[in-house]
Every structure is written in structure tokens, then in C-alpha cells.
Symmetry: C2
Subunit: 641 residues, 2 copies
């Protein structure tokens, strides 16, 4: 047996024993060492950089690593095999995946305003924020030799009267607390639970004086990022908010690689553990402790995620999502309880999943569609959620059509040599001086934060600016020279956003022609999906009266630039609305409102799903859109001015 | 810190660290070392014998240990305190508690005959053996591009049609298996689950060819012994049977000591773990593996136990059972699921508890009363379950009265110096030659098994025979001399059943005047309870037309001798019927028959509970019954012949 030691900038080293010739990335996964591998280990993305500190690896130099770095010990984990005892340095900064957990103050902030506005629209549209959860106080008499009713019946009868229900269920979690609570609290207790028609389920009991809120958790499980809010179920107040990287990322940046991984022996459990144990459990616990609430008081959970995320979260085989005839195991399934997937919540808490409508249009879109309000508009409206996939819903109060396109991870920094997610160090916005070609950019993080890489909104800006300044052609080729235009370590033409000195990592931050080409394909997929969907209705983009953009790409998204590069149609800017994370706000609505839950189910039922891959003309549309802004420049008249 | 090492005849030693002056019995409990302590460690029963092998204990010589044995290192664990590092020998044979697990062949045997007869009576009385569990095979078509129904809807719709139900619930345990099973089995699957009115809950799926039975487990949780059967839910066939010592025994032989122990910090969990983790989990797993059935196929569980056992099993505070006004936390509670207490079963399996009707008349009696059939008789009938408590139900088809008396553990070998439970080595039957005073006895176990001690039915015989032979008086005093009559190590008069040479343990097996006195109190409690209950109805024992005796005391019980000692009323012998473990057969009936479950609930509802301790005259009756056969010999006319 050979010993592999993983060392980190922070934290204890981790050791694992290996057989000769074992793959280092696989070993890291076994040892639960997070190494980013968006391409799932096929050597193409070059993200799984690690440094060999001691011992030897069988690891050829890949194109993504310079001679100099290779000499310094840098390797790609996915291309490395064990030949001796080794010590491996796993760089924090190289590892874009960090299960970074953040909780944010909710009393301020642009995002909360978006959230509240969305909620208000829903309520104004006649969907009341009323749910089944409640707490009430009972004042009981103690049993005596003449009043021999046992505890459970005593409480049941009082609840029937108090709540005017016919049946009261007391599950085990409440039953075991009943006797002690009644006696400690001198027979005055607070009962918390769920009403369901003429039944009430008693989920928790406490002494009458208890004022801790009854809570729900709404979760958006994104392919890349998971965000969640902890909510007071009685008032709707947001108690805390958290986000974390989806722990599944090290099994692949896109859903396809994760489905493949989940099909390997033990894979379903590995993928489920990655989202549940590594991501959701600590996220919910952190939010609860932030709000000073016990997880037992979490009486309901709602989840909005794409079809694959839903399957992997639940632990259901997802292979049918990616194989013909592309019928997933479930669209709408109502049987999940928090205990089934071991969420930190009351064991009787239901987990409501926003329904999927197809393999690639999932609960994130059905929940998001509710919040987009397009179902309530007379105007023709388009709702688009920019994630690892781009999902589109088009319609108005009379009809809804939806489709999805595989944009790839470019909007979240994947497939881009210096790409990263929108965390500290990411260049999120950029302008370039047409004369000097010098860039000016905004970096996420504390003032003075040096750039580490480029996130989605930053890439949009850089490409739009490179094109506007005539540095690149409509095909994405470099056509100007200057000190910022150079060649990278692989010999690709590139634009230098930050030199070695200017960057946080000591490596230059560049965008090369391969990145630009990848990005053009991503934006082309979006634009052609919109066109194809509309064409199937014999419409064109000019019919779009309102356009709602959602997703984690961030409120920093520059709509003018999205049009400039031909990603979004050339509409008057006032028609664009960034509605934030509509998947999360949709999950929140489903938590607080039974009517919202019903409405989402109704929307899912009524949405027509268009499978683009089998729609005639889609490939032609796509090819035509892989151009800045488009092969047919007439589609972008404002850009011609 | 001092180190305590426990050594065993078999198995690895166990070590634990201790503070000076810590109690050895408490330490053994912490270290999970099973030492029998029926008196819960107050020094009275003398059962917790251990041997000091190395080091020193602060441990005075108790009366129960001879000078010789004390010199050899024998101590009572409950009276020993730690003063140095010690090594302790825990004798297997001295420890009457062994979580002995047995599974028995069910195709033969007297007990199975009793079981089947009981079932037949119930069925004949119009209680059909029909339940809600079923399995069925579905032949589905695979999804296509034109038939895009996801797996769960496909199965739901087919089940609605097949079973003619309106709703189908697919809980998580079935949902996660669905996708893979459907595809592996080419869309022909076997569905197993529970029907409940117009709903069906799908609890398990398998390929259509699967023929493994769907099962239920019926459990009798006795204070001393736990017995259970694994049953085919569709046919009623008994698949395996098991028994084990109740792991709670080391916290006290009777329910009161266990309730007290459960009230200490962490006690509720300790007591629950002792019955669930130590006893039920291995018992059910053993039965399943014996029958070659996966625990996931256990779709239902029924439990009959006394009120305290029910509370401690569920994990509910039991203190109210023993404190005024003696109203337990529940009589009838229907909310328990197998997963709540982590039984090895399908996570959606319900656990049905036979209802309690009072603090000391529990589910073992309501389930047993069903099987006694006294509710279906015109004749006045009495049903008695002899356990650690004696519980009595009297009546006929028109009324039912019940009461309980604390007989103590004597019938199961507790409170008797050489007493033991009815396992290998127990003297279960005995006659004594009136001339020579030599005993002849039958020992449980393989041929040639030497006696270890005396179990309940053996004690009845020994005392009856000692009395018949004029060796002891009506007051239990020794009144004859001979080589079998001697004094034991504590100087008490005793009868020697087996000499040092004749016994398995190398210690003589004796019954002394204290034992006889204890036993007379136990049988007095039984008889006086019967009389008091009848007297409250202005009846006397002669009215009993049929008498049904149940309990683990064993089919070896000699009814003639029970009358001879004045334990049971002097009725013609043909009126006595031993009906075996009616608590277990009642649990079996509740598993197989919804009607039986309803009937038990109805019986519980209709039974009038008489609290003996507050019934005038009970103490007088009891005092009068503490005599062989009774102070009023006229009550036992057949004994005067």
C-alpha cells in the first residue's frame, strides 16, 4: 500500500492509502478532499491543479500547465497516477470549489428588495400567503383519580376543540416530549404543527411561555450554488439566509457528468451525500444557529432544483434524465419527508419539491415561473433562468411554452481558463479603453482585493468590450495588437486582464480565443433557444414585450452588453428586468403559501415543453448565433448605430 | 483515574475508567456489562455476584455470600466501591441475565398447537384473519417519446386500477428503488404495501419474479422475557420465532425499579436502548435471517407489553405510571412507526401497540384477553397472566373486570435464593418422596443437564411437595428433620434439592424459609387479587366456570399443585386451561387481523379496571392468603380430603 497525504493551506492534512497506479482525483474523492473538476476528470478543463511536494507521480505535462509550473510540481490530479508515497498540496485558491458557506444579514440589501417585490406581485395576483402551519397554547387540567384521561387523549381532545379539527395525530417526536413537557409546564403547553383539512399533526410541544418561531426552510439547489432562507412560518419573516457551493461539483460541473458518476457503484449515495451531508446539513444548521432556532422547529422545507438535482437529492436513479426517451423518474412527487434525507428539521417535516416538467426543465423553473409573473401578463413575456443550463419560459396568461438549452458552465466561470464563480476575487464587471486597450474592472470582495479570475457577468463585459473596441472580430479572433494582447502558456492568442503582478495568484489573468469561443457557443445556445422557441410559434424576438432574467449570474449583469454580444435579443433596455434568484423566491412562496404551491403545480401542468434537440432548425439557429452579435446583424439593429 | 477490567468466561475483557469510590454495579452498566440485579442494586437480592481477581474493593461481606466464598473473592457488585485498579470476573452462570436469543422450529411443538388453537377460536368467534397488507404484480409499458409519463405516475395509475383505490402514496423508501427496479425488471414489478380505505401505500418494490414473503413481526415485551414471531402477512404462516431476555433486566427486575432508573439523567434513553438496541434489534434480525427475509420486507409490527414496557419501549416518560394519580402518558396511541424506534423493518412499517387500560394492566393483557376468549363466553370466566405482575380479567360476554397485583419476580425465579428463569439448568418440575424426603426433578436442557437453580413452575412444585410431605407447615416453617433439611450459609432453615456434587455450579441448590415466605406472599397476592375482584362483584371463587392461565411460567405448570398451595382457587381441574403466551398470540392476531385489532381496542375500552391497592379488604384478603393453602382452609375443600 502506498500512502497519499493531502496538505492544505488551512486545516489538518488528510491521509489515504492507495494501490499503485490509482488515479489521484479518484483518491481525493475517496478521501473527501475537494478538488474542482468541472469536466469530471477527463483532462479537458485543467481545473484540478495540485502540487506534488514529495514523492513521484505518473503524470504527463498537460497543455494547461506551463513548463515552469510543471517543473515547480504542478500537475492535474485527474491525469496523475500513484507510483510512490506522495505528499500533495491542494491549493485553496486553485480550488474554485470551496463549500463556502455564507449567511447574510437580511434586513437590508438589494436582493431582499427583489425578494419582497416578487412576493408582493404574487400576493397582488390573488395568491394569498397562507399556509397550514400554526402554533397554539393549551391550558389543560392535570389528571386526578377522577379524571383519568392519559396525556395523549387529553391533548388530542383539547386540540380538536381549539382548532376545530376532527382528528389529531401525535407522531413519535411529539409523543416522547409530551409527558415531561406537560408536567414541567404545569399543564400549560404550546402546540406546534400542521393542519391538513380536518386533521392536525402535532409536530412539537413546548411550555406555554415558549416564543421561539416555527420555521420553514426554502432551498434553491443549483447545479453550482445552493442558496436557502430560514423563514418564520407564521409571519413570513426571513430569519437567516445562507449559501454554499453544491458539494457535488467535484463530480462534475454539469448535470451529465454527475449523472454518469451517480451510475457507478455507490454513486447514487456519493452524489446524495455530497448535496445532503456536505452542503444542506451544514447550511441549514448554520442558518438555524444564526437565527437561534432549533432544527426541530423547522416544520417544513421546500426545494426548487432542476430535474437532475431533484433526483440526486432524493437519491433516485437519474440515468433516465439523460437517456432516450428522456423521461425522468418523477416530475411531481409529494412523498418526501425531511427524515428520509436526514435534513436537520423536525422528523415530520414534509419536503415539498417544486415539480419538474421535463428532463431539462425542472422545479427551479416552475417555481421561478411563478415569481416571474409572466402567467399573469397580457403582454408576451419571456422568462429566462441563466444557470449551468439556460431555461426559458415564454408566454402570457393564455399559454406557456418552455425549453432548455445546455449553455454549459461558462456563465458561472466554468470552461473558461481563468473562469471562477462569483466569489471573492472574481472580476464581475469590466470596461476597456478603446484607445489604450487598458481594462478597468470591479472585483468582488473587500476593497483592495486583487483579481483571481473572471465570473459570468465579468466575462460578458470583457467579451462585449473586446468586441466594441475592435480587439476581437465578430468570430472571436484577435484583430488588434498591443501590450495587452499576447499569447498564453499554451500558445493561444489572449487578452491580459491582469498581469502576474496585478493578480492575486501570481499567474496572469487572461481570456484566450478558446475561452471566447466557448463563451460564444454558450451565448449562442441561449439566443438560438429563444429564437427557436419563438419560431415554433411563428413569432420572432420582436414580439417579446417583457423579459425577465433570473439566476445567480448576479444583479451586476450588464443588459446592454448581453445584447451587444448577441446573447439576448435587441430589445429596448427598459423591457429587461433582473428578478434575482427566482428559484429561491419561488421556493419561499411555496413554503409560505399553499395557494402558491398549487399555482406552481398548475403552471407545471400547463407548460408545454419543447425539446430543442429534436426541433428542426435549432442547430442552424445555433450555428448562426455563434457570432458577435450574430451572423444576421439585422437582428441587432441598435448595435449597428 | 482507576481502571476496572471485567473478565468473562467467554469473550474479550472490557475496560472502563472509574473515579475512586464509584459503585461497581453502576460502572458495569456504563461499560455495558450485563450483571443480573433484580433488586436494582439495593443489596437485597444477592444476584449480582462477581469475583474480585486482582486489586481491592471496598465491599463488606453481605449475608448472601458465605465466609468461604467471600475469602475466594466473591462480592456483590452493588455493594462494592472502587478503591484501586481492579480485575473483576463476571461469571456467566451466576449472571442469570444473558440476552439469550433462541429461535425455535415452528413446525412442531406443543406451543404452536396452543397458538393455532387460539387463532382458530378467534376466527370461529367471527373475527376474520384479514389485514391491509398485500402484494401484486404490475406489467407496465416502458415510456417512449410519445408516452412521457414518469415512473411514479406510471406506477400510481396502474396501482389505482389494479387495486381499485383512489390514491397511491409512494414514500421515499419505495421511490428510491422504483427507477432501477422498473428498468432491471423490464417494467414488470411486484408492488408490496398497505391498503387503507381508498389509499394504498407502496412500501416496497421488486422484480415481478420475486416471491419473498411480505412479513410482520408480533412481539410480546415481557418485563423479563421478550418473545416474537415473524409471520407471512398474506398467509399467516409462522416463519420463525425468537426469544431473548429483556435487556432492561440489569436496571431492575420489576417495573418500579426500571421507572426509577429511567427518571435519572439519560435514563429514558438507557432503558429504551436496552430493550430496542440490545434486545429487539438483534432478535428481529435473527428471525429475519433465519427465515431468509430482508428486514425491509417487515411491513408491520405489533407489540403487546405492559404499560411500563410500552412507555419505556417508545421512549416516553413512565414516571406517571408509578406516581399518583397513576395515569400513564398513554393508553391507546397509534402514532408509532418502526423507524421512530429504529426497529429493523420497512421504514414505513407501523408499530401497533396493544392498548393499555391502566398503570398496571397493559397491552399484554388486552391482547391476551382477546385470545382467552372469555369475552365470547356465557360462563363466568377468569383469565390470569402470570408474569412479574399478575394480571387478572374476569367476566363473560356481558362484562369484563380487570385488576393487577404485584406478585414480584418469584414466578420467574426472582427473589428466590436459587431462583432462575426457565432456561437450561432450571428445575421445572419436582416431586418429593414422602418417606425418604428425596426429590425427583426434571431439568430444562439436554439430557444429563445438572440443575443450576429453580424456575417458577419448579418452585410451585417444590413448595407444594414440601407441604404435602409435611416437611413444611402451613406457615412455611420446616417441621421435619432429615438429611435434606439443613441450614444454608446464612443460617436459614432450608431444603436441599441438590448437593454441591449434584449441582452444575458446585454450590448446593436449596430453598430456604425466606424463599418460601417470599413465594407464599407472591401466591397470596394472586389468590387474594382473584378473591377481591370477585368480592367487588359480590361473588366468590366458586362462580368461576372456566379459568385460563397464561404466561411464561411454562406449560409445565402443575395446576393441582397451584391449588394445593392456595395460589389458584380450588376448582375442578378440568376448568383450568393453560393457554400459553397469550400476549404473543394476541399480538399475532392483531398483526394478521384488522378485526382483531379493533376487537382488542373494544375490549380495552369496555374493561373496568379495579385498583386493588385502594379496594377495601384487599390487605385482609392478602394476609389471609399468606398461608398454605389459606387461613380459611374451607376455601380448599379438595385439599382436606
Amino acid at each position: 500500500m502506498l500512502k497519499v497525504t493531502f496538505r492544505f493551506e488551512h486545516g489538518e492534512p488528510r491521509e489515504i492509502f492507495a494501490q499503485e497506479n490509482e488515479n489521484l482525483l479518484e483518491l481525493a474523492r475517496k478521501a473527501n478532499v475537494a478538488i474542482d473538476a468541472p469536466c469530471s476528470g477527463n483532462g479537458s478543463c485543467g481545473k484540478c491543479r495540485i502540487r506534488l511536494v514529495k514523492g513521484a507521480l505518473n503524470s504527463p505535462k498537460p497543455r494547461q500547465i506551463s513548463e515552469e509550473d510543471y517543473a515547480a510540481g504542478w500537475r492535474l490530479a485527474c491525469l496523475s497516477r500513484i507510483v510512490s508515497d506522495v505528499e500533495i498540496e491542494v491549493p485553496d485558491i486553485a480550488s474554485a470549489y470551496k463549500s463556502r458557506m455564507k449567511t447574510a444579514d437580511l434586513s437590508t440589501g438589494e436582493e431582499v428588495a427583489i425578494f419582497n417585490a416578487a412576493k408582493q406581485s404574487v400576493v397582488d395576483a390573488g395568491i394569498p400567503f397562507l399556509n397550514d402551519y400554526l402554533s397554539c397554547v393549551l391550558e389543560l387540567s392535570a389528571p386526578t383519580l377522577d379524571d383519568t384521561m392519559p396525556d395523549n387523549e387529553r391533548v388530542e381532545r383539547a386540540l380538536m376543540e381549539e382548532l376545530d379539527v376532527e382528528f389529531v395525530d401525535i407522531p413519535h417526536c411529539a409523543m416522547v416530549e409530551l409527558a415531561a413537557t406537560l408536567r414541567e409546564a404545569d399543564w400549560k403547553i404550546r402546540c406546534m404543527g400542521r393542519r391538513d383539512g380536518d386533521r392536525f399533526t402535532l409536530m412539537a410541544v413546548a411550555p406555554a411561555g415558549d416564543t421561539s418561531p416555527i420555521c420553514g426552510v426554502a432551498i434553491d439547489i443549483g447545479t453550482t450554488t445552493v442558496t436557502a432562507v430560514l423563514v418564520n412560518l407564521e409571519t413570513g419573516e426571513l430569519l437567516s439566509r445562507g449559501s454554499a457551493g453544491n458539494g457535488q461539483i467535484r463530480y462534475g460541473a454539469d448535470v451529465i457528468n454527475r449523472i454518469i458518476e451517480s451510475g457507478k457503484p455507490g454513486g447514487r449515495k456519493r452524489l446524495q451525500d455530497a448535496i445532503v451531508k456536505e452542503t444542506l446539513q451544514p447550511l441549514i444548521r448554520t442558518m438555524c444557529s444564526e437565527a437561534n432556532v432549533s432544527p426541530e422547529r423547522v416544520l417544513a422545507v421546500t426545494v426548487a432544483g432542476n430535474t437532475t438535482m431533484n433526483h440526486l437529492f432524493v437519491g433516485v436513479d437519474a440515468n433516465s434524465v439523460r437517456t432516450e426517451p428522456y423521461i425522468p423518474s418523477f416530475f411531481h412527487w409529494n412523498g418526501l419527508m425531511a427524515r428520509d434525507v436526514k435534513l436537520p428539521a423536525n422528523p415530520e417535516a414534509k419536503v415539498i419539491l417544486a415539480p419538474n416538467i421535463g428532463s431539462y426543465v425542472g422545479g427551479d423553473i416552475t417555481a421561478g415561473a411563478l415569481m416571474s409573473m409572466i402567467w399573469n401578463h397580457d403582454e408576451m413575456s419571456l422568462f429566462i433562468d441563466l444557470g449551468t443550463n439556460g431555461e426559458i419560459v415564454f408566454g402570457n396568461r393564455d399559454f406557456l411554452m418552455s425549453c432548455a438549452c445546455s449553455a454549459g458552465p461558462a456563465f458561472e466561470g466554468g470552461d473558461i481558463s481563468c473562469g471562477m464563480r462569483a466569489t471573492d476575487g472574481a472580476i464581475e464587471a469590466c470596461t476597456i479603453d478603446k484607445e489604450t486597450m487598458e481594462p478597468t474592472f470591479r472585483v468582488i470582495g473587500d476593497p483592495g482585493q486583487k483579481p483571481v479570475g473572471l465570473c459570468g457577468s465579468g466575462i460578458i463585459d470583457v467579451i462585449a468590450e473586446l468586441f466594441r473596441c475592435g480587439i476581437i472580430s465578430a468570430k472571436g479572433q484577435f484583430v488588434r495588437e498591443g501590450k495587452r494582447v499576447s499569447q498564453d502558456v499554451n500558445g493561444f492568442d489572449c487578452y491580459i486582464l491582469a498581469t502576474e503582478e496585478e493578480s492575486e495568484t501570481g499567474r496572469p489573468i487572461t481570456i484566450n480565443i478558446v475561452d471566447i469561443d466557448n463563451f460564444i457557443r454558450a451565448k449562442g445556445a441561449i439566443f438560438s433557444a429563444i429564437c427557436t422557441l419563438l419560431k415554433s410559434l411563428e413569432l420572432d424576438v420582436s414580439c417579446i414585450e417583457q423579459m425577465y432574467v433570473a439566476g445567480g449570474i448576479g444583479s451586476g449583469i450588464n443588459m446592454r452588453n448581453t445584447v451587444r454580444i448577441g446573447m439576448f435579443p435587441d430589445l429596448p433596455l427598459e423591457r429587461f428586468h433582473y428578478i434575482g434568484n427566482s428559484s429561491l423566491s419561488g421556493a419561499y412562496a411555496m413554503l409560505m403559501s399553499d395557494a402558491a404551491r398549487d399555482k406552481v403545480a398548475e403552471l407545471a401542468q400547463s407548460m408545454t415543453y419543447v425539446e430543442l434537440s429534436t426541433t428542426p432548425g435549432y442547430m442552424d439557429e445555433f450555428m448562426a448565433a455563434c457570432f458577435l452579435p450574430h451572423t444576421n446583424a439585422e437582428l441587432f439593429p441598435s448595435m449597428m448605430e
